[in-house]
């Protein structure tokens, strides 16, 4: 029996002229592990929401074709009814957590299912053991790391024992080790008869786990054959001038010390990858580069300026920072205005037209940035920080949630910038990106440089 069957599904969001999905057909057998890929804006998240009825019930719009999940016609059942068969885990765990402790969060769905306390306790014990989070049950949800939150969100869905588990980019906030752990877990669930559909951009580690890859762009199943990654030729180490100098840096947030004596030099024209597990202090380190955080001890000098004494808005003329979440930056009415906004506030000149073209955004110049897909938003944010041609560029997890094409653009942009004499610092969990662009790697562990 097919666990999931889509027949000629076409869907259009309300007030949109273009189709989110067009003539999509897909059959998934019970216990299969399917990876769904596709370019940004190709409708992967829409497909996920279609499977439990959120689309079109919550969004409206026009749907044609049929969606059957675990024998249930999604158009004839409420989201609540579908939830007994389909578990849906979204990308951002922060936006899914309802309760203040882990145990209560896992119990949330079970309480909705009107289960008795005994059965709830049994399921909570089972799922927490299964996901290795039994030690977290008493923790407050707002104090968990991104990876821990992701596991809790998954646990609260798995506790409902769905027959079909749908995950929309569940590994985007996980480090490489946690990602592999999750993939192993998902594979083992299929052994218990659970069907897994996972939307993911990155194919690393999927071979041998996913049974099939479904490419939503072509609407076809593709043979799961991931070419072994050939790292591009490493950029040469540069002997350019030192533009960023970090000496004995100790620092952190709100009295909590995260960094412990970091030393580092970054030269013009080089690309440094800052790597390490979740919580190792990578973002904390780079936030010291542009003065968002001030050192508790030690010093950071950018082009000779002491970041402790120089305001961030002044340092910003020399260093650009792309945050983890591109939406943090975007608020103007159009893409073009986002770029102009940066130039206006920095008080510098820049070629808006050329930057838009370079990032493939010329066609989106009048679009509202927050309406764009994740990959497109990432490109707008990148264009908005690079339009001023800074001497140092810091990119914090720039490949999170972007598709292969956007990733290619990003890789070549980083290489071009470094070749042009810009110092690039990339914070990343993405081993492939680090291998492709970095001339040097700085691995952090427990707030100090490893190795």
């Amino acid at each position: 029996m097919n666990a999931v069957e889509l027949r000629n599904v076409t869907y259009r969001y309300p007030e949109r002229d273009d189709y989110a999905l067009r003539g999509l057909s897909l059959k998934v057998r019970e216990g299969e592990f399917i990876l769904i890929t596709g370019s940004s804006g190709s409708g992967k998240s829409t497909l996920c929401r279609l499977l439990n009825g959120l689309v079109p019930r919550y969004y409206g719009g026009a749907l044609s074709g049929s969606v059957t999940v675990d024998g249930m016609d999604a158009s004839k059942h409420t989201v609540g009814e579908m939830s007994t068969h389909v578990g849906l885990v979204f990308q951002d765990p922060e936006s899914q957590i309802v309760m203040s402790t882990v145990e209560d969060e896992i119990a949330f769905g079970l309480e909705n299912r009107m289960l008795g306390a005994g059965e709830m306790e049994e399921r909570i014990r089972w799922v927490s053991r299964r996901l290795g989070i039994a030690h977290l049950l008493d923790r407050r949800t707002n104090e968990l790391s991104g990876g821990e939150k992701q596991k809790v969100v998954l646990a609260s869905t798995l506790a409902l024992k769905p027959r079909v588990l749908v995950l929309d980019e569940p590994t985007s906030q996980l480090d490489a080790e946690s990602r592999m752990e999750l993939l192993r877990l998902l594979k083992s669930l299929t052994g218990e008869g659970i069907t897994v559909l996972m939307v993911e951009h990155c194919l690393d580690g999927v071979v041998g786990r996913a049974d099939r890859v479904f490419d939503i762009d072509s609407g076809r199943k593709v043979i799961l054959k991931v070419k072994p990654h050939k790292a591009a030729k490493k950029p040469k180490k540069t002997s350019g001038e030192v533009v960023l100098e970090v000496r004995g840096l100790c620092g952190g947030y709100g009295g909590r010390r995260v960094l412990d004596g970091v030393n580092l030099e970054v030269r013009a024209g080089e690309c440094l990858a800052v790597t390490g597990r979740n919580g190792s202090g990578k973002t904390t380190l780079v936030k010291h580069f542009n003065g968002l955080l001030k050192p508790v001890a030690g010093s950071v000098r950018l082009f000779g300026m002491d970041t402790r004494e120089t305001p961030t808005e002044v340092l910003a003329r020399k260093i650009s920072y792309l945050p983890q979440n591109p939406s943090d930056m975007l608020f103007c009415d159009t893409v073009e205005e986002e770029l102009e906004f940066t130039l206006k506030h920095l008080g510098v000149g820049g070629d808006v037209e050329a930057t838009l073209k370079k990032f493939g955004l010329a066609g989106h110049r009048d679009s509202y940035p927050r309406d764009l897909s994740v990959g497109e938003k990432q490109r707008v944010a990148l264009a908005a920080v690079l339009v001023s041609n800074p001497g140092v560029v810091v990119l914090d997890e720039p490949t999170r949630g972007i598709d292969a094409a956007s990733r290619e653009t990003l890789t070549s942009t980083i290489r071009e910038m470094a070749a042009g004499g810009t110092a690039v610092v990339v914070v990343t969990q993405d081993r492939r990106l680090a291998a492709d662009v970095a001339s040097r790697e700085l691995r952090l562990g427990g707030g100090a440089v490893e190795g």
Partner: protein, 295 residues
């Protein structure tokens, strides 16, 4: 700082009564002996629940640095003078006036500072013990079961506040990194610049709210629910509640009977301990008897 929920064999109603008693007792007396004994009772409750007492005390001491300083150096009431700060000091021929500091440092004023220190340590310790053994969800579950939606909405709102604050902080960082001046420049420009942080914060909060609604619906939330946690409300819980309520009444009675009367500015000599004032402290130590076996 990691702040787990400590398991403790006392229900939320009784923890709430315990907190009320501790706060009331603490607020009604300036007698350092009673304040110290109150601290002993709180410390015992914290230690029996394996809570980090040292951290709690540290927080209290940090908070009390200002009242201790103000009372010692800026309040010049009292008769037992230890030292008199002159009206000015001469540093290498330069006469530096000390307009606020000038005057006597007295035992009485310093005593008030010390009592206020213990007072703040007690208040914060009581709050932290309570905060570590209960959660907003547990408190909201005390609402009648006829209004489950209200409790859930309140719980979500409470959880949302730190999330939105964290979002705003990230957005602020992102905009400052683009050269936006939020803390300098003309006032009008600063207000205008703040729009670049407020607009995305509001939009992000709305997006989060929508995502949360989707997530809740995806986990079958339709309104009707059972409850995972049923707090014990047996005979022993009722007895403990009664003990707390009686102790609360006793504390108020002790106040009006004058058992707590002591004002350090008037005298540094403590009155003889009153049994009436000591009795409520015993109730505050009840958590020791009910240590962490089950929640």
């Amino acid at each position: 700082m990691r702040n787990p929920v400590y398991k403790h064999n006392m229900n939320t109603v009784n923890w709430t009564l315990w907190l009320l008693l501790a706060m009331t007792y603490c607020a009604l007396t300036y007698n350092p002996l009673y304040q110290l004994l109150l601290f002993a009772a709180l410390a015992a409750a914290a230690v029996s629940g394996k809570q980090p007492l040292k951290t709690y005390v540290k927080t209290g001491l940090l908070a009390s640095a200002i009242p201790l300083f103000v009372n010692t150096f800026l309040i010049h009431m009292g008769e037992t003078v230890v030292y008199t700060i002159p009206a000015s000091v001469n540093l290498n021929g330069l006469e530096i006036p000390l307009p606020i500091f000038a005057g006597p440092i007295t035992i009485e004023s310093t005593s008030v500072g010390v009592v206020m220190t213990i007072f703040l340590v007690n208040m914060l310790t009581a709050f932290q013990i309570f905060n570590s053994t209960t959660t907003p969800d547990a408190i909201l579950r005390l609402m009648p079961s006829s209004m489950p939606g209200v409790a859930l909405i309140t719980s979500i709102s409470l959880r949302f506040i730190p999330t939105v604050a964290a979002d705003h902080s990230s957005i602020r960082d992102a905009q400052v990194s683009r050269g936006v001046r939020l803390d300098s420049g003309p006032l009008r420009a600063r207000i205008r610049n703040h729009a670049s942080t407020l607009a995305p914060t509001v939009i992000t909060a709305l997006e989060r709210a929508f995502n949360l609604a989707e997530s809740m619906a995806s986990r079958g939330y339709t309104g009707g629910r059972t409850r995972y946690r049923h707090e014990r409300w047996g005979r022993s819980e009722k007895i403990v509640s009664l003990a707390y309520m009686l102790s609360l009444l006793l504390t108020l009675h002790a106040k009006y009977a004058g058992a707590f009367d002591y004002w350090p500015y008037e005298s540094t000599r403590l009155p003889a301990p009153s049994l009436l004032a000591l009795m409520p402290l015993a109730a505050l130590a009840i958590p020791i008897l009910l240590k962490n076996e089950r929640r």
